[in-house]
């Protein structure tokens, strides 16, 4: 933290993510569909590992309810 290219950008982002996860939960969307991690551009392998892990957890959660709702709405 504090090591952001934009100086204090990641402090603001951290707060936003905290807030957004709660709001998504209130809206009925699993908050785990939103993830944030701080990874430097020099940490290539860590980034790849994180993405693969996230994809796996998303697959386990199943398709997003938002897609299904959108499709149902536009078809009507």
């Amino acid at each position: 933290m504090g090591d952001c290219h934009y100086l204090y950008g990641n402090y603001a982002t951290k707060k936003r993510i905290i807030f957004l996860r709660e709001l998504l939960g209130f809206m009925g969307i699993e908050s785990d569909r939103l993830r944030s991690r701080w990874i430097s551009s020099a940490e290539g392998p860590e980034f790849a590992h994180e993405v693969i892990d996230f994809i796996d957890s998303l697959k386990a959660m199943g398709p997003s309810p938002l897609n299904q709702a959108e499709r149902a709405l536009r078809a009507a």
Partner: protein, 266 residues
Amino acid sequence: MSENVRSKVKELLGSGEIKGFLGLSNKYGHVGPHLFCDENDLDHLVVGDWKQPGDTRYTLNKQLIHIASKYPEEVFGVLVRGCDERGLKSLFTWNQLKEDKLVTVGVACPPMLANYCECRTPFPDEFVEGEKTEGVEGLSVAIVDNLDLAGRFDYWTDVFSRCIKCYGCRDVCPMCFCKECALEDNDLVGTGNIPPEIPVFHVTRAIHMVGRCIDCGLCNEACPADIPLRTMYKKVADIIDDQFQYRPGYTKGKSPLNMLGVGTEV
């Protein structure tokens, strides 16, 4: 019921302390916003009768911003309820209005309005009309919270599918003063669909209400589709209060998500 307000306004206009008083007038058979500049022409000044809650609630703060930005050196008076005053405190922090150029004349809301609004503080700091009523801890947020995840999803998808993207919620909001609105940006909120892609429009607006919404409820009343916007924004305020101990209109200072002129404090 409006006698006390009328005499206070007469006194303020008569002494020249204020150039005009932005309040409510009974004209054309309706009660609506009006700027009173003549101390002898106050017969039509009313505080609003509560035939139905919401009948006489208007965005006086917004009109005040229009007038004050053209006449920044003049002092104006304004009618305030609890919510209006929260709005003013917030607008002072955002530099949209100047505290020393305003005189407020307060009105306390009766229990019927406090219950309708589920208002925590249905009265301003000082008021000349009405009696202090207990704040109300409402049920509207709890009702949605108590549904399970799928129940909440169905609830919000259902209400958002009625949205006609009239932008009424944004246009009426006394705290919305951005010259360029994110909701009008094609890249953020896609165009061409009614209702706008769920939940993009409403979640975007909810995020922008962080540290800004003072829970006046005018958005709810302006929505032609009766979407329970206020419930969502109440939840937003609760989340920010829980996580960052900040409530707009109550807590001093800028929003915890504000980034302008900020150092590296968390």
